[in-house]
């Protein structure tokens, strides 16, 4: 009977902790999906040979294989939870942990869970394919060897030397402790879980000395609850939870899938979006012909909060997609290639290679990349959707991406340039410098990029041309706002005073000026004035122009 109770409580604890792990993982489902986009498993002999030839190649290969299951985050999370649960079972059995002592077998797993969730912006800089599974797999293998050998040894010598076997197995089978470093920056704390996991196993033989072996139910329940709470707290606390980071990940996926309304909706949830979020949002506005709403939907980006010393660069985050969406195909291809070279080939890079090759009509090249994507488990569908584009122009012309991007491709003057690894700066400068836009989309874009960078001169030229090209159309309120501001406050190269502004906009601008002048006369600092006026005027170009002074391009 007591054996049954013991088995029952062991199973219940396992179930509780497994469910806890699973929930913690699923709370980061947006991240898990992007994880598999930032990894790659190809079912070819070449891929296996190359991967297996590395140090710890087997774990990397298996890790890459399993990481692809995060394509369905619930499935990947289930697999990872299963590996951890088996690991706990192996530890309990190998170290002969009884009753409440079994709870401590979850400590190494907690460390592994944290190692999966605390990656944050290092996601873009890691050079560790299969990271999310490979360490858990190698740790499980160490525990398996410990369990098997200790069982065998115990038959002949009734002493528990699992700790010794664990040490030997660990040094034989482990992967190197991962280091998180890039040019001059490193984050040693992220390596800590990989030290805590094996170290906590070595403490398991000592757990027996803790006075918690009491089998009374209430003590057991209390201990389980406490440790479960600590487990959840630790994994939640150490997970990377920056809301902008997660919003970026969701927007990244939405942009990839051309879900423009979702992109805009996500951006509007954020009070202080990052520059990348603003760029994504403006891409979505541009592709839905709503670019003149860019300031009314929030255009004040901030630097991403990486949580440590890591400086994040948009080019590395999603520079290739940003360039692609603005029709800069060569630069998109370049950054997909640069990032693949620096941080390893990923699904994301391969898909961008395909996109660029198709847009550039390099169909032989596209076929090559599609052939590789066809060897993946979850992205072959994406590849097969695009295969007809190589042979049937109609399939290309009717695709959402082509429809969205092709109006930007008519800017067809080739120039030689460099972007100093700053896609946002390059795009804003490039488009605001275009004098003769060939499509309405480009026409809006060149005006809006001039406003985005507060290039007054370029705006005035573009506005003048716009008005002349659309004599019978209503000029978007944004352009009127900017023209009103610039004809009044800056030395414009073109006289805009005679333009028939919308009286409502004129009145609102007058009101903006009056409030601003009043507050300024009172000696209120600019930042405070900005905060005070944000509620009523935060949706205007005037507010952006006066108060958004932290435009730091990264």
């Amino acid at each position: 009977m007591s054996h049954k109770i013991s088995t029952y409580s062991t199973s219940l604890r396992l179930l509780l902790f497994a469910v806890g792990s699973y929930i913690m993982l699923m709370m980061n489902a947006d991240y898990l999906y992007e994880v598999q986009e930032h990894d790659l498993f190809i079912g070819t002999h070449d891929f296996a040979a190359t991967t297996l030839s590395q140090d710890g190649g087997l774990w990397i290969w298996m890790g890459c294989y399993l990481t692809q299951y995060f394509y369905h985050p619930w499935l990947g999370a289930l697999l990872l939870t299963a590996i951890w649960t088996i690991t706990v079972l192996l530890l309990i059995s190998a170290f002969r942990l009884k009753g409440n002592h079994q709870l401590f077998a979850w400590i190494p797993v907690c460390a592994l869970l944290i190692s999966v969730l605390d990656v944050g912006y290092w996601l873009y800089y890691m050079q560790m394919p299969g990271y999310w599974f490979s360490h858990s797999l190698s740790f499980m293998a160490v525990c398996l060897v410990t369990w098997v050998v200790s069982k065998v040894v115990y038959r002949f010598w009734p002493h528990n030397i699992a700790w010794l076997i664990f040490i030997v197995a660990y040094f034989a089978l482990r992967q190197h402790i991962p280091t998180f470093a890039k040019m001059g920056e490193s984050e040693p704390l992220l390596s800590l879980p990989f030290i805590i996991a094996p170290a906590s196993v070595l403490l398991l033989p000592l757990i027996g000395f803790l006075p918690i072996a009491d089998t009374r139910r209430w003590i057991s329940i209390t201990l389980t609850t406490l440790l479960l709470a600590a487990f959840v707290f630790a994994s939640h606390h150490f997970a990377f939870r920056d809301p902008n980071y997660h919003a970026e990940l969701r927007m990244m996926r939405a942009v990839d899938e051309c879900r423009w309304d979702d992109v805009i909706a996500e951006a509007q949830k954020a009070d202080t979006p990052t520059n990348l979020m603003v760029v994504y949002k403006n891409i979505a506005l541009m592709h839905t012909d709503r670019l003149p709403e860019m300031f009314s939907t929030g255009n004040c980006g901030i630097l991403p909060n990486s949580g440590d010393s890591l400086s994040v660069n948009m080019a590395h985050q999603d520079g290739s997609m940003v360039y692609y969406q603005f029709g800069q195909i060569n630069y998109a291809y370049r950054w997909a290639m640069e990032n693949a070279t620096d941080y390893g080939l990923k699904v994301k890079n391969l898909k961008m290679y395909v996109r660029c090759a198709i847009m550039n009509r390099e169909f032989d090249l596209a076929a090559k990349y599609l052939a590789i994507l066809n060897q993946t488990t979850f992205h072959r569908g994406w590849a097969r959707e695009r295969e007809p584009m190589l042979t049937h122009a109609d399939a290309l012309f009717k695709s959402d991406e082509y429809i969205a991007i092709s109006p930007l491709l008519s800017d067809d003057v080739n120039i030689l340039s460099m972007d100093q690894s700053l896609p946002e700066k390059w795009i804003l400068t490039h488009f605001s410098d275009i004098i003769k836009p060939a499509t309405p989309k480009l026409e809006d874009l060149i005006i809006c990029t001039a406003l985005w960078t507060e290039d007054d001169y370029a705006f005035c030229i573009h506005f003048y041309n716009y008005v002349n090209n659309h004599p019978n159309s209503t000029i978007p309120p944004l352009y009127q706002q900017a023209a009103m501001l610039l004809c009044a406050t800056e030395q414009s190269p073109i006289t805009l005073n005679n333009f028939p502004f919308d009286p409502a906009i004129t009145a609102r601008y007058q009101s903006f000026r009056n409030i601003y002048d009043t507050l300024a006369r009172q000696g209120m600092p600019m930042q405070e004035i900005g905060n005070k006026m944000r509620h009523d005027y935060g949706d205007t170009y005037w507010w952006y122009y006066y108060f958004y002074i932290d435009f730091i391009i990264y």
Binding site: T44, A181, M337, E362, D364, A371
Partner: protein
């Protein structure tokens, strides 16, 4: 009486099944009895139709890229005839390949391709693989590198045995690359096809030029205060312990629309001579308005050929901008200077090929071992033709000074880095014809009459290799022997203390005038002769 055992029965069935499967898998595909004849040759990849191969080449495995799921390929020559087919792959048994080549020596192997399409079979017009009696150098080497832009990560120098499929890495940059600082490795080069005297450069982390000089390996710093950079593009003198290098200040910029994607340009470049025995450097050519690059020795070591572009900056303060805005104005010509091995002095420069007059740019000259021919890459501008789709290989008969494009070896995509095998009968180029972005070695037969034949792509054991492989084969070079060091041994040598080369002054004064014209006007006339192949 023996009792029936169910376990034994199961075992027997299993063994029988294994034998059956094994025998099925060993069974040769049979040529279908009935088929529909197609009046064209099949599409295969790599394209080995009507190519000429050396007698010592490994099997030319290929994929049939016709619509279908199963192929049968029959290869026959003389009394030898074999069939192959694994899905759409034809992977040839090495022993049978030897038999086929033996029978076809000086003639051809006939290749018939059958493809199962739906319920029936299609047959295609047979093609030939011609087997030349001339052999090829048993090894080539190349750098494996993604077609990357500014950044680099894993680079390797590899050698490939052309008679088998064996490839070995002889230098890998990973031991010297950290997250903070990587190591670039480039410009492997050999003295007269021998690896006993060879070199390659290491840049950034643990920099230096690793020079194998007989039994010694030295790590040399070729940068001096008097030269603009360390040695870059090398050329070993064929017999003497001398290496000509260019020195270059190189930059990259990016095309927004052009499929060339990258423009690699030299802001400055000169030529230097490195004397191994004295560990000293002297300047061969250094004029401010000339960009000298790509030195290459003649086979007798009495002439140094090189490329040079006349480019006068209009303002010193905007040199980089000028280089970018005027990139189409940079045209390299090919020059030659005599060299006296006794005095080690160079003669006056002679213009060999005036590409500028054709609004073209000639780079990467190489001389045939018999000294009669020069091959080079020609494109509308610039020096880095691997990225120029228009780049083609051209040839000059140095006896007649007539030049012509080598049509047989060219494609509508980039061809660059030509080189002759040691017997002069094989011409290798780095071609991007497969997909426009990834460089692959293509080798063409260059017969005794100077006719170039259709090139073949370096064969691979798995013919799908080129589809899935995402590295370029950069700077393919012939070698008559393997590199004598392993990657580990070279890594050990690379850690040795670097030795600084000393600067020994100017070799001789240049006489190229600043407008790019030349004292010796004996140059080629550009003719586009049709070529038979």
């Amino acid at each position: 009486m023996k009792r029936f055992s169910f376990t034994n029965c199961k075992l027997s069935i299993a063994i029988a099944a294994i034998i059956a499967i094994a025998s099925i898998s060993c069974t040769r595909p049979t040529v279908p009895d009935t088929y529909a004849m197609q009046s064209r040759q099949p599409h295969i990849m790599p394209d080995y139709t009507e190519v000429t191969i050396p007698c010592n080449l490994c099997p030319t495995n290929f994929i049939v890229t016709e619509a279908g799921k199963q192929t049968v390929v029959r290869m026959s020559a003389g009394t030898a005839s074999y069939t192959y087919g694994d899905g759409m792959k034809a992977q040839i048994d090495p022993d049978e390949w030897e038999a086929l080549k033996h029978e076809a020596l000086g003639g051809s192997i006939k290749v018939e391709v059958f493809v199962k399409a739906g319920q029936g079979w299609n047959a295609y017009t047979p093609f030939n693989i011609y087997v030349a009696a001339d052999s090829i150098d048993p090894y080539i080497s190349y750098r494996l590198i993604p077609p990357s832009y500014v950044d680099y990560s894993h680079l390797a120098l590899a050698q490939r045995n052309l008679t088998t499929f064996d490839e070995t890495i002889f230098y890998d940059n990973r031991p010297f690359s950290t997250a903070d600082k990587g190591q670039c490795v480039n410009c492997h080069s050999y003295q007269n096809y021998h690896t006993s005297h060879m070199l390659f450069h290491m840049r950034h982390n643990n920099p230096g030029t690793l020079i194998v000089d007989g039994d010694h390996v030295k790590r040399i710093n070729l940068k001096t205060d008097s030269t603009i950079s360390a040695g870059v593009y090398p050329s070993w003198h064929p017999t003497l312990p001398l290496i000509a290098f260019s020195t270059n200040l190189t930059g990259q910029t990016f095309h927004t629309k052009d499929l060339a994607k990258i423009e690699v340009q030299d802001l400055e470049s000169d030529l230097i001579l490195y004397e191994l025995d004295r560990n000293s450097i002297s300047t061969i050519s250094s004029l401010p308005d000339q960009l000298e690059v790509f030195p290459t020795w003649s086979a007798d070591g009495r002439t140094l050929y090189y490329c040079s572009a006349h480019f006068a900056y209009q303002s010193d303060s905007t040199r980089e901008d000028e280089l970018i805005t005027r990139y189409k104005d940079i045209h390299y010509n090919i020059y030659a200077r005599s060299f006296d091995p006794a005095t080690q002095r160079f003669g006056e420069p002679r213009l060999i090929f005036n590409a500028d007059s054709l609004n073209q740019s000639a780079t990467l000259p190489r001389i045939s071992p018999d000294g009669r021919y020069m091959v080079f890459a020609l494109a509308p501008w610039g020096c880095f033709h691997v990225w120029h789709h228009e780049a083609d290989i051209h040839i000059i008969d140095l006896n007649t000074m007539q030049s012509q494009p080598l049509t047989a070896i060219n494609s509508n995509r980039s061809e660059s880095y030509p080189s002759f095998s040691s017997n002069g009968r094989w011409l290798m180029t780095a071609s991007r014809r497969d997909d426009g972005n990834y460089t692959r070695p293509y080798i063409a037969y260059f017969d005794a009459q100077g006719t170039c034949h259709k090139p073949f792509e370096l064969p691979q054991r798995d013919p799908y290799h080129y589809i899935y492989y995402l590295n370029s084969y950069n700077r393919p070079e012939f070698m008559i022997e393997p590199v004598p060091y392993t990657a580990d041994e070279f890594a050990g040598q690379a850690r040795q203390q670097v030795i600084n080369a000393t600067y020994n002054g100017q070799q001789s004064s240049d006489t190229i005038t600043t407008d790019g014209t030349h004292h010796d006007e004996k140059s080629t006339t550009f003719t586009r002769l049709s070529e038979t192949s």
